[in-house]
C-alpha cells in the first residue's frame, strides 16, 4: 500500500511540473498586456512603462519563469497583479467556498443517482427505466448557467423563498449560509445527478448480465439481496471513478454557477484573472487545480479496493 502511494505521488511530480511549464507558457501566448488592461485606454506610455517595471513584466520570459518557479518551492505563488494579495491564501479562501458547494452537491447527487441508476438497470426497458434515463439525459443536457437562472427566477423571484444574490459564510450565520447555497448546490446536484445516473445504470446493466448474478438468482436469492450484495459492489466501481473525475473537475472551479449566483469561489477568481491577465493568479489557480485533480484521483484509486475486492492497491 505504502509503495503504491509513494509511486502515485512520485508520478504526480512530473505531471505538476509539465503543468507548471504549460500554464506559464500558454497564458503568455494569449495576446494582452496586464499593465495595459489595468490602466485601460487612458494609459499614457510613461505610466504603462512604470507599471510594467513594477509588475516585473520587463524581465525576459525565462527569468520570469525562474523567479516564479523558484518561489513555488518556498510556498510562495506570488502576488495578484490586480489586488496585490498573496496568491496562495487567496486561492485557499476561494477554494473552500467552491469545495463546500461541490462536495455537498456531489454527495447528494451520488446518493440519489447510484440507487436510481441501479433501479433503472434492474427494470431495464420498463417505464421506470425510460423515465429515469429520460430525466438523466435532460438534466445533463441543460447548461448549468441556464438551469441556475431558471432556479433563480422560480425560487428567488417568483416564489421568493431563497435569496438571489450574495454569499454568507457558515461561520457568520449558518442558517443564512444554508439559504444562500441551496440554489448553487441544487444546480450542480441536478446536473451531476444526470451524469451519474447514466453511468450507474450502464455499469449495473453490465454486471447483471454476468454469470454469477444468474447463479445467485438460481440459488433462489431475493432480487434485493442479488442487487445489494452481488451487483452493487462490482457495479459501483466505474461510477466511483466517475465521481472522482467529476469531483476533480468541479473542485477546479464552477465558474458559471459561481457567476450566476455571485459566489466568490475559485472558478470566478480564475475567470476574472484571465480577463485581467493576472498572470500570478492564473498560474497559481491552474497549478492548484491540477494538484487537486491529482490528489482526488489518488484518493479515489486508494479507496477503489474498498468497493471492488477484485482490485488491490498493489
Amino acid at each position: 500500500m505504502l509503495r503504491f502511494i509513494t509511486k502515485r505521488i512520485l508520478m504526480a511530480v512530473p505531471t505538476l511540473f509539465i503543468m507548471a511549464v504549460s500554464v506559464f507558457a500558454l497564458i503568455r501566448f494569449i495576446p494582452g498586456d496586464p499593465a495595459a488592461l489595468m490602466l485601460g485606454d487612458m494609459a499614457d506610455p510613461a505610466s504603462l512603462s512604470d507599471l510594467r517595471e513594477r509588475l516585473g513584466l520587463n524581465h525576459s520570459l525565462p527569468i520570469q519563469f525562474a523567479i516564479w518557479f523558484g518561489n513555488i518551492f518556498q510556498g510562495d505563488l506570488g502576488h495578484s497583479i490586480t489586488s496585490s494579495q498573496p496568491v496562495l491564501p487567496l486561492i485557499l479562501d476561494r477554494f473552500w467556498i467552491s469545495a463546500k458547494i461541490v462536495l455537498i452537491a456531489v454527495l447528494f447527487a451520488a446518493l440519489v443517482a447510484v440507487p436510481a441508476g441501479m433501479i433503472a438497470a434492474w427494470r431495464q426497458n420498463s417505464m421506470l427505466d425510460l423515465l429515469l434515463v429520460g430525466t438523466a439525459t435532460i438534466l445533463l443536457s441543460i447548461p448549468t448557467f441556464w438551469l441556475g437562472l431558471l432556479l433563480l427566477i422560480f425560487f428567488g423571484l417568483k416564489l421568493e423563498w431563497l435569496p438571489i444574490v450574495g454569499y454568507v459564510s457558515f461561520s457568520d450565520d449558518p442558517t443564512a449560509a444554508l439559504l444562500y447555497i441551496v440554489m448553487p448546490v441544487a444546480t450542480l446536484f441536478l446536473h451531476e445527478m444526470g451524469v451519474l445516473i447514466r453511468m450507474s445504470r450502464a455499469s449495473t446493466l453490465e454486471v447483471l448480465r454476468l454469470d454469477y448474478i444468474t447463479h445467485a438468482r438460481a440459488k433462489g436469492l431475493s432480487e434485493g439481496v442479488v442487487l445489494m450484495r452481488h451487483a452493487f459492489k462490482n457495479a459501483f466501481g466505474p461510477t466511483w471513478t466517475l465521481i472522482g473525475l467529476v469531483l476533480g473537475n468541479l473542485l477546479g472551479g464552477i465558474a458559471v454557477v459561481e457567476t450566476v449566483f455571485t459566489i466568490p469561489g475559485l472558478g470566478r477568481l480564475l475567470v476574472d484573472s484571465i480577463f485581467a491577465r493576472d498572470y500570478p493568479v492564473i498560474q497559481g489557480c491552474l497549478l492548484f487545480i491540477a494538484f487537486v485533480y491529482v490528489a482526488v484521483n489518488i484518493v479515489v484509486d486508494l479507496l477503489y479496493p474498498v468497493f471492488d475486492p477484485r482490485v488491490t492497491a498493489e
Binding site: 489595468m38 499614457d44 506610455p45 480577463f275
Partner: protein, 522 residues
Amino acid sequence: MIVKARTLLASCLTGAVMAAALPALAQVTPLRISLNADIRSTNPGVNRDDNTDAVVLHMVEGLVAYGEDASIKPLLAQSVSLSEDGLAYTFKLRDGVKFHNGAPLTSEDVAWSWRRYTDPKTEWRCLSEFDGRGRSKVQAVETPDAQTAVFRLDKPDALFLATLARTDCGMTGIIHKDSVKADGSWDKPIGTGPFKLEEWRRGEFVKLSKFDSYANPAEGKPDGYAGSKRPLVDELRFVVVPDNAAAKAALLRGDIDIVPDIANADVKEIKANPSLGLSIAQNMGLSTLLIQTRDPLLSNVKLRQAIAAALDTAQITAAVTEGLAKHNNSIVPLNSSYHTADHDKGYAYDPEAAQRLLKDAGYKGESIVILTNKRYPQTFASSVLIQAMLQAVGINATLEVLEWGTQLDRYNKGNYQVMAFPYSARLDPSLSYDSVMGSKDKQPRKVWDNPEAQALLERSMLVSDKAERQKIFDELHARFLKEVPFVMLYNGVEASAFRKNVHGFTASVLSKPRAWEVRVAH
C-alpha cells in the same frame, strides 16, 4: 377546545415571529448598489478601475471636482485662484471640514497627501502628469497658513485642475496621514467624504457607513462630484453581482436597491415595472469606429470618406442604445459646454456618394476586417450594423470578434484595419482629442496623426481663455470631418434602475453611482 388550542398556538407563533422580527427591524437597512466586479483596492488613484473609483470617491474628496456639466468646481477648496503668470494655483480650504477620524482638514494634510502621491513608491497612476513627463511639473506645494495651499508649476497648464479632479486619479483625494501604516504602506482611506469604510469583504461587498460630521460643500442638489453631498442613509453597501441577469433579478426581488448599469435592452421592461424607476445619462465616453490610416488600403482618404458616407450614424446610435442616446460625430462630447452648433455638423449619410468615393479611390473589393468584442454589447451591436451598411455600398467588410484583452492589445499596437472601440470618458475636450491624436511613430495606438492638428491641440492645453479654446476645438472638428481619421458615432449612455422606494438617485454624466443625497423609504 381544539379552537382554543389553535388560537393559543397561533398566538405563540405570532409572538415568536414578532420576537424574531423586532431585532431585525432595529437593524440598519442598508442602501444596496450592485457592482459588476469587485473593487481592486481602497487606495485612491493607485490600484483602481471604474468600480474602485466609484466606491473610493464616496470616502475621499479632492480639492476640486467635476460638476455635472464637466466643469471644474471647488470641493474641499472654498476658492481657487490662478496667478497672473499662470504658474501658481492658490486653494483656500473650506472651514469645518473633518476627516473620518475627527481631525480637522488643514493645508498640511494637502501638502502631506501631495508628497505621498508624488512619491514613486505610492504608485499613483497620475504621477507622470505632474512630475515633468506630462504638460507641466508641480515644483512645490506651499502652506502659508492652515487654510491655504499653493501649488507652483514650472509652466502654464490649462488642464492642471482638470487633471487633479480626474476620477481615475482618485480626484487627488486629500487623506489623513493615518490612512497609511507606520511603514508607509496603505491601510484604509481616512478621507473627508460623506461615507466611511466599515468592511470590505473581497468578492462579496464593500460596506460603508454614514459620516455624521460630514461638512456639506453646498446646499441644493448634487452636481457631479460637487454640489450637495449629504449622506442620508446610515449604511451603504456596494454588492458584487457579476452577472447582469442576476443583478436584474435581485433588483426585481428587492435584494438590490440600485443597479447603476442596466443593459439597454432591459430599459423597456424596467420602465413598464411600477415598482422600479429609471435614470438615464449620456456620458462623455466616445463610441468610435477606428480606422488605421497607415493601412495600405485605408491610407486613401477617399476610401475613409466613403466609409463615413456609408454609415447612418443616427440609425446605428438609435438601434444600439434603444433610442436612449443621440448620435454625435464630434470628438467634443454632447454634454460639454464646448459642444456648440458647429459640433452638431457631422457626416452626411449618402450611400450613392459613398459608392462614387469608392470608385474614385480605386477600391476593387479588397477585404476590410472590422475588429470588435462582446464585452461591450453596444460595441458589438454597432459593429454588426456597420458591417451591413458597408456591405450595402459594396465594401467587402468582415467581422472578427476578439476577447477584450486581445482587442486592447491590438489597439495599443495599432494592429488593425478597422476597429469598433469604446473610449472611457474624458471630461475636457482637450483630453478627448488627446486620447486619439498624436504621433503613431511614438505611440502606435494613436489614431489621428496630423502635426498641424496636433499643434492646435497642444495650444488648447495651454490657453485658459474659453473663447480661444472654443475656436481651436471648432477648427479641429472641421479638420476631423474632412480627414476622417476615424468615425465618431455617439457618446456612451448610462441607464440606471432603482427601486421606487429609493429617492434622490440620478445617473451621472460621470458614469458612476452616487449614494449621497439618496434615501430609502422602508
